[in-house]
């Protein structure tokens, strides 16, 4: 389906329109936070804890040559605690107090130093005496639950922060498991990941002493959310704070909320009355920006002797880090919600035990619990196939929900909307069957192909559902579409561009609905003084589904108004009019019409309007979807495993994907390709390491490896489109799917290549060192 009304004009929806903001990014004219300078601007350095657990017993600025130094006591006195956003059942901590003298992770911000340059601020920080009384620390979530482990919050009694179940009642689930003929159970682990956008976080804060207003340029995915929280924490009114997020150099979840160090930079600007800039360096990114994942799953898949799935359950031990992040145990919970995947199971559920440790807090990252769910479920399915002696793809086809079973309510209360899950499996199967594997004479190189499939939760979401699950973010988006007096079209939305091309695709939707060319349309995002309110911003693959859906309805409504006004001017019926080549015309009579410029000019004058019509050519529409939208995909990887070196090479990679209506195929392909690359990093390289006591060992790109061009193969992608029935325009989210499925597709391929170690492939990354250990255990390597 498309939203195009004018049959003579090719639809812009489904067209690979070139991205509108690329020329500026290609010529160095982008405006990332660190590119912006203001007169009199000073630079900040954040003082951080270098120990994992302890108590700051003295903070002595001495005669440090700085313009401003704020220690923890001053920060604490000047701020309100930062509220958490996703609150779990019985969660006792609801806020993060700022300026806490008890330190619980390396990187915890303790204060701020401001000077003429970053280098001078760092120099000044050198002469500040901070003494921290060290306590024993603990980094691993299972170790933190053992008796005698250091306890981070003694008043809480233990490190078990929250503990709850979702899905079927535990007794119902256990009864189903007890009755099942066959259960495959494994302990699987998903390691800690650092999101690592190429642009780190950054803030430029400017306090106007005359108007008492704070303008903050920040690299963020959620400008309005940040504004609201900044106002609250800094004891300002919301209308005293303006947040501007211009170009964002990648977010991936790491920039979806307000961090305490960002508050400190704003506080410093208010104190000094001059602009203050703070830009995180890469070392800080590794210790101060939320990590993600870090979960242990004790998981079970129950089935009949014929391999018909009956029930699935996981007990998640999730590492929260030193305190709840904004989303806290949310990612672990989503792992449980999405555990059933595209399969028919009568019973499903999860128990979530989230644990405090002396590590950087874990939060959102591309995939948000679903990559973990996919790793757990799809590895279990492959293990089940191995135990049953059946083909893994055949086992999947036996259990996948068919298109005539949709909509389908899972035991974890997800109402899958539309699609054909089996088709994605058979499309990839057909591609793989046509593939001729590389032939290699080296007997020490093994080859295998693995599959994985999933359904994904995108487009958060109905606001009422957010309320039910305790997620304090509205799930709606608002669009403003306006034809200006000169006939140009202004589009604004509260979602944020961070590389995903949303400036272009929202413009495509608006232009298509209005029947105008792209160059007439400009899209404005990221400035809270201009964009309509967005509670959630660009997270959860929601910008196109929720934000785009709002634009479709707003632009269509504006088109109807334009046609009504034109009908009045042309003394014609609305049904007889088309908008084409910048004019409203009567169908079949090109000589009669009115230009959009003239129509807009007179409309804004309030002249020549039909009775009852207001002069403004502006529509604002709030779109609160009735359901999540559920895209899905199947991936397959062909790998070569070198038994001597433990090296894995991805030789071919296939994807069959349905994300509903594709607005811009090139951009959608790019989202999937980038997502797969991040998933490949999780599969093969990425893991944030800590010493047992909480000292971080991954603090540079030399000890945290990201995938490079030589690691990532070209991908073979097939799309098909099942429009989301409940979203105007029919789009489903596409930002995260690639990352969710890729790790386990690769894991299953390694299992297929080296079946001797398949049962031990339970944890990523499958780095050469780890694989080599497994190969030795599997008797494939003698030294």
């Amino acid at each position: 389906m498309t939203t195009s009304i004018d049959a003579q004009r090719p639809s812009l929806v489904g067209s690979s329109v070139r991205r509108v903001n690329d020329p500026r990014l290609l010529t160095g004219a982008g405006r990332f936070v660190d590119d912006i300078s203001l007169p009199g601007m000073l630079h900040a350095f954040i003082l951080r804890s270098t120990v994992a657990h302890g108590r700051l017993i003295s903070f002595e600025p001495g005669d440090s040559p700085a313009d401003l130094i704020l220690g923890p006591d001053e920060v604490g006195a000047a701020t309100e605690p930062l509220p958490f956003v996703w609150i779990a059942p019985d969660q006792q901590h609801l806020h993060l107090p700022m300026g806490d003298r008890t330190v619980r992770y390396v990187g915890q911000p303790l204060g701020i130093v401001v000077a003429g340059s970053r280098a001078q601020a760092e120099d000044a920080a050198e002469s500040i005496e901070m003494t921290i009384d060290q306590f024993p620390g603990v980094a691993d979530s299972l170790a933190a639950l053992e008796a005698g482990a250091p306890v981070l919050y003694p008043e809480h009694g233990s490190n078990l922060a929250v503990d709850f179940s979702i899905g079927d009642e535990p007794d119902v689930l256990e009864a189903a498991m007890a009755a099942a003929p066959l259960i495959v159970s494994r302990r699987l682990r998903i390691p800690r990941i650092a999101p690592s956008p190429m642009e780190t976080r950054g803030v430029l804060a400017d306090w106007n002493t005359g108007t008492e207003t704070l303008t903050v340029w920040m690299s963020t995915q959620t400008p309005h959310h940040v504004r609201d929280q900044l106002a609250l924490v800094l004891r300002l009114k919301v209308d005293q704070v303006r947040v501007i997020s211009s170009d964002v150099g990648g977010g991936f979840g790491a920039k979806e909320h307000l961090y305490p160090d960002e508050v400190m930079a704003c506080l410093a600007a208010i104190r000094l009355g001059v602009p203050v800039k703070w830009v995180e360096d890469r070392n800080e990114h590794f210790i101060a920006t939320c990590h993600a994942r870090d979960a242990v799953h004790d998981a079970r898949l129950a089935m009949t002797e014929d391999g018909i799935f009956l029930a699935i359950h996981t007990k998640v031990t999730g590492n929260l880090g030193a305190h709840f992040s904004n989303v806290g145990s949310g990612p672990f919970r989503v792992s449980g919600l999405m555990l059933p995947g595209p399969y028919r199971v009568a019973n499903a559920g999860a128990r979530i035990s989230a644990v405090f440790t002396n590590t950087t807090p874990t939060g959102a990252y591309r995939g948000f619990g679903m990559q973990e769910a996919a790793w757990v479920r799809e590895r279990l399915v492959d293990e089940a196939a191995r135990e049953l002696g059946v083909d893994p793809l055949e086992l999947r086809l036996r259990n996948v929900i068919t298109s005539d079973e949709l909509p389908h309510l899972t035991p974890t209360f997800q109402e899958y909307d539309s699609g054909d899950y089996g088709r994605s499996l058979t499309m990839v199967r057909d591609r793989v069957q046509a593939y001729t594997p590389i032939v290699d004479t080296n007997p020490r190189v093994r080859r295998g192909i693995g599959f994985a499939t999933h359904v994904e939760f995108t487009g958060l979401g109905p606001s009422v559902m957010q309320e039910i699950v305790g997620f304090r973010l509205g799930g709606y988006e608002t669009a403003i579409v306006r034809m200006e007096p000169d006939g140009s079209v202004f589009v604004s939305s509260g979602v944020m561009g961070m590389g995903q091309g949303i400036e272009t695709t929202l413009g495509q939707l608006a232009a298509d609905c209005l029947g105008v060319d792209m160059d007439r349309v400009s899209v404005h995002l990221g400035d809270t003084a201009q964009a309509p309110y967005s509670a959630a911003g660009s997270i959860a693959s929601r910008s196109m589904t929720v934000g785009g859906g709002a634009v479709v309805t707003a632009a269509t409504t504006l088109r109807e108004k334009i046609l009504r006004i034109a009908a009045h001017r042309l003394e014609a019926s609305v049904q007889d009019l088309v908008i084409t080549e910048g004019r409203v015309r009567i169908k079949g009579d090109p000589s009669v019409g009115i230009s959009l410029e003239e129509l807009a000019e007179y409309s804004w004058l309030g002249w020549k309007l039909p009775a009852g019509e207001t002069p403004d050519l502006e529509v604002k529409f709030v779109h609160d979807p009735s359901n999540i939208s559920y895209p899905y995909a199947t991936h397959a990887a062909a790998v070569a495993v070198d038994l001597d070196t433990g090296q894995i090479k991805i030789e071919r990679y296939w994807i069959a994907h349905d994300s509903g209506v594709v607005v811009n195929p090139q951009i959608v392909d790019g989202q999937i390709a980038g997502g797969v690359a991040q998933g490949l990093g999780i599969a093969l390289f990425e893991k944030v390491l800590y010493e047992e006591n909480g000292q971080p060992n991954s603090t540079t790109f030399l000890d945290y490896l990201l995938p490079l061009a030589s690691d990532v193969p070209d991908l073979v992608m097939d799309h098909f489109e099942t429009p989301a029935p409940h979203i105007p325009g029919g789009m489903k989210g596409v930002g995260e799917g690639g990352t969710i499925v890729a790790p386990v597709a690769i894991g299953n391929a390694v299992a297929a290549a080296v079946p001797e170690i398949a049962g031990m492939l339970l944890e990523t990354p499958l780095s050469p060192g780890r694989l080599w250990e497994l190969l030795r255990k599997g008797g494939l390597f003698d030294d």
Partner: protein, 161 residues
Amino acid sequence: MNTPQTVKTIQLLVNGAQIEREVEVRTLLSTFLRDDLGLTGTHVACEHGVCGSCTILVDGRAVRSCLLLAVQTDGTSVETVEGLGSLGDLSPLQEAMWREHGLQCGFCTPGILMSIEGEARSGSSAEEICDEVLSGHVCRCTGYQNIRTAIHAYFATRHGS
């Protein structure tokens, strides 16, 4: 007793224009370009020479500007992304990257452009650049496939002209 020299005057060509500036000797080249000259197209993402975002050309060779001091460029010719093309007049490489969707957030892009440009000028083939040079850069968004396509498209236009 000699006191260490903390500032030095340097002369260099930047995108073809003669520049003379006094700089702190400890100033990184990336900082000099961005803060002193306002050439903010050169991005800094790791400051330890791994990611390649800050890559520029010094006397035609691709270098990490975060690993050089500004004073080391005294007497050289420096080229940054700002010298490659302009909004209304993209270079063939920039044009190819745009057409093939070789960028998403665009933060790593200027460094990648300068590496490719430097290597192409020094006679490397598209295959060599795709296989080796591109792996000197971290791009977190694209998955690299479209950058490889853009490199081949760029070379096709070079040979066509």
